[in-house]
Symmetry: C2
DNA sequence: AATTATTGTGCAATCGTTCCCGGCACAACC
DNA sequence: GGTTGTGCCGGGAACGATTGCACAATAATT
């Protein structure tokens, strides 16, 4: 059995009380230098570490934060996680990552598990399936600090951090227009996600600016964000079966971009000759391998950092916070059409 | 403040003792049906959840396992994590993922943090930098269950699960030979990783079988597994500056494959006309985008599942386990040379 | 020399839960 | 009627760490 050393072990070994040992290890000025040295040396020798669980119980906080996101295999989220860890780590917090794989049920179970006292706060990016956030509202009402990133909700009054999805989408769509595309489709995730709404808006604005008609038939939603390749396949095939086939497509995420490229390949549709693609994408690999995909890059690492900083400030705030912020970070357009 | 309900709250509300409430919620046969119903109903009403931290302290286990790997942005590891979660989740365990980014110091800090009583066991894939495993040996000696996967060490006597790296490498190298390559280079991670040794062996065996000479100059190690693109760049450029340039290259990992492709692109070396590539790769994207990369696929998801199953069995075993297993799973060769 | 500070240390309560032990009723037995 | 049994419940210790309070011994003060 794995039994780490405790204060009691040290106390017994040195013939002291646990309180003396405890104080020797921190208070320092209440304890005689000799005793202090004795304790510190011994603790060093046996490599003593305070039991974080006992501390959590006592302090009523766990010094850990929970993260809920769709999947770490997604480059965007992997980069966000790195940002989260970089800050949490520095400030002495553990990070517990949970994946929803875009399922509402999974998200709910994960978050409730995290919340039942094992984390001090939550970083949440909603799943594609989620429409009911009442369980989150419940936790928030009861005082669990949370910050939303990427896929946010206005039903809960707290900090939010997102990319400038409208502007990013506008630029990507305008790029397609400038490339000569006139029938631009939009492949996106489920329609109740905040990012989908915002990205659709940017797309519409670009069309409007250039006097192009908005065609509902060109908008294709994937309820599970392309988690099932079949979703993407059906969507693309429907687009390609239209009388007026699109000549460009604005894709709303990493996963959908990958999925769409796969379908175009299968259909032997040449990119970018027959179809120009632009989309949100943070994948280095895709970027490297596909020189024809103009991409909207989100500052993922930075988003993770800022979200974590906001959350930890909420957690460590001595007074209840009522003033919440919605932070919007600019994207950048990486034009690739060689 | 976020203050979940406790047993005491229920006891006070119903005029009972905490012990009675506790028993009503589990023991069940020592408590009268009426009291039981009363308690259960009330607990349901306020959505009571036992405090996992208090439980952990009492039970001296946390029902969570720690994972140490290089980075989740790597598709192989992302798939392993999914496998780990699928099993841990079913058996009621939390999963805490930590990333080393191939740094020894980071690995050590992460694992010691996990070990200081907050996890019941460890799943470890060593970082590229790690040579000294004494801190792990220390934990293992003191009884912390651990299972190694992918990058293992024989210095600690416990379960291991790996892919059949030798066979996979042999097949990939032989594939290159069959494609007509005669000067086959090998780009790999740091030389002290178990996978590097095994993969080099498979490579050598294939050369030997086909009576090709082994040339030390064709072997290039990247001490940080290609975490810094510069490593890969230097390695490839050195290879291409040799008098007898290689005509094929066997690459040992996802990240190195991506890195290498980027360098070949930069150098305007055509793949596969001037350079045939084969390598270990679990990236769907790379696979999709690069139709010329023949890849050795590892059963990553399954590896995660098996490792977790082994670990949980160790953790839950009533008797000390001395009989350890080294499980080797077959890889599969995905030939792509269109 | 007696009183008051000062210093160093131990006791005990606390966090939320479980579980051993013991106690109170009431019924059944000799 | 006294003993034993049984069903139901409360008291209290334990898990490991921190911390207010008490108290001893020594030093400083009048």
């Amino acid at each position: 059995m794995f039994e780490p050393f405790t204060l009691k072990d040290i106390a017994k070994a040195l013939g002291l009380s646990t309180s003396t040992v405890s104080r020797a290890l921190r208070d320092t000025h209440e304890i005689s230098p000799e005793t202090k040295k004795l304790v510190l040396d011994y603790a060093q020798k046996i490599n003593y570490r305070p039991n974080p669980i006992a501390l959590s119980l006592k302090e009523r906080r766990s010094k850990s934060i929970g993260v809920s996101l769709s999947e770490v295999a997604n480059q965007y989220f992997a980069q966000v996680v790195n940002g989260i860890e970089s800050i949490a780590y520095d400030r002495g917090y553990h990070v517990i990552i949970t994946q929803t794989h875009e399922f509402y049920e999974r998200e709910k179970v994960n978050i409730q598990h995290l919340a039942s006292r094992s984390v001090d706060g939550l970083l949440v990016s909603l799943s594609a399936e989620t429409t009911d956030t009442s369980y989150l509202q419940n936790l928030h009402q009861r005082g669990l600090p949370m910050v939303f990133f990427d896929r946010v909700t206005d039903q809960i009054n707290t900090h939010q951090i997102i990319a400038n999805n409208e502007k990013g989408s506008f630029e990507a769509t305008e790029y397609l227009i400038n490339q000569g595309c006139r029938r631009i489709a939009h492949l996106t995730s489920s329609d109740h996600l905040s990012i989908s709404v915002e990205r659709l808006n940017g797309y519409k604005q670009a069309l409007a600016k250039h006097n192009l008609p908005f065609n509902e038939a060109y908008i294709k939603y994937c309820e599970h964000g392309g988690m099932f390749q079949q979703e993407t396949e059906v969507a693309i095939k429907e687009l390609m079966n239209l009388k007026e086939k699109p000549d460009g497509i604005f894709v709303a995420s990493d996963r959908l971009s990958i999925g769409a490229l796969a379908v175009f390949k299968e259909l032997k549709i040449k990119v970018p000759q027959e179809m120009v693609i632009a989309g949100f994408c943070n994948s280095d690999v895709l970027d490297l391998m596909c020189p024809t995909l103009t991409s909207v890059r989100q500052p993922a690492f930075e988003m993770g950092q800022i979200a974590t900083d906001m959350l930890l400030n909420l957690i460590e705030s001595k007074y209840p916070v009522h003033d919440f912020e919605k932070k919007i970070l600019d994207t950048s357009l990486w034009v690739r059409n060689s």
